[in-house]
Assembly symmetry: C2
Amino acid sequence: MNYPNKISKNKPWRLEVSHSNRGMNLEEMLNQSNNYYKEKDIALIFKKPTPIGIVDVAYENKKKIIKKAYFKEQSTLDYNGIYRGKYIDFDAKECLSKTAFPLNNIHEHQTEHIRGVIRHGGIAFLIIMMNGLIYLLDGQDYLWYIDNNERKSIAYSYIQEKGLVIKEGYLPRLDYLKTIDNKYFKGE
Amino acid sequence: MNYPNKISKNKPWRLEVSHSNRGMNLEEMLNQSNNYYKEKDIALIFKKPTPIGIVDVAYENKKKIIKKAYFKEQSTLDYNGIYRGKYIDFDAKECLSKTAFPLNNIHEHQTEHIRGVIRHGGIAFLIIMMNGLIYLLDGQDYLWYIDNNERKSIAYSYIQEKGLVIKEGYLPRLDYLKTIDNKYFKGE
């Protein structure tokens, strides 16, 4: 009879996980992880708000309300911030295809943004969820593929070869900064 | 008779300036400057989109349209990016008062964000337009004032003393990165 309570006292994350972590999509996992990094003062990384074009506003109870707006494309990547003194910039995509990552997921100005971030000394990458795994694909490996292939998608075999698998956990749900440590801060 | 044409050929910025730069507000000046920095590959700094909470969407001609939304507060500062390998984060405010900058312009989580950016090795500051001048106030000077004063505003004399005046020009309209060079990269 006491079994569930004992578990929750000794390992409180067990219950929490079973309630709140189940069925998170990639964006939710990253938001939870970024909140965790912020709370623990490990990094300051945020998702940028979705850009919109406002067509019409009105006032309701003296509060300004948007009555009509449309979605615009992000000209940068969705996430950026600072970690270990370095500028971090990335995008996250869930890929339904099992064989290839379609390149129309990343717009041309976003590819140029990745190129620019690396040129200016920042860290840029993609997080790709595919075939049940979550990969970190370094911006330079992404650009190499773009620059050396005519294909409209990245073969899964390339993502398997170059990508680093991000381990899923409890808190943070996706410890992608550990992957960043291994990739970019080795030996520091 | 040929006078205006000659000017526009020899110094095309003359005419451009008189048309497009007159009457820019602070945000427009910064957007123009950030575009210039991007075009010249000097820095990658962007204004974050305004965060909104979407209440209702609909489809018009197969396109998703926002039918109702409200404005949310930015939990970070409005502008961030990378310059000379460093993480840059700032906010820009036009101040109507001639004697003091009201601190309700900067929310508490934004003040904590400034603290965090500096702790993690980034550069954080405020750009304040006041009494016809545009000042760059370093994040540490801002925090010092907050931490050592009970007042609900920053006295103009403090901004004059600690702030650095950003020179207005043509292209970029506000060369605030030159001010950053002098303040943070001296001797490099």
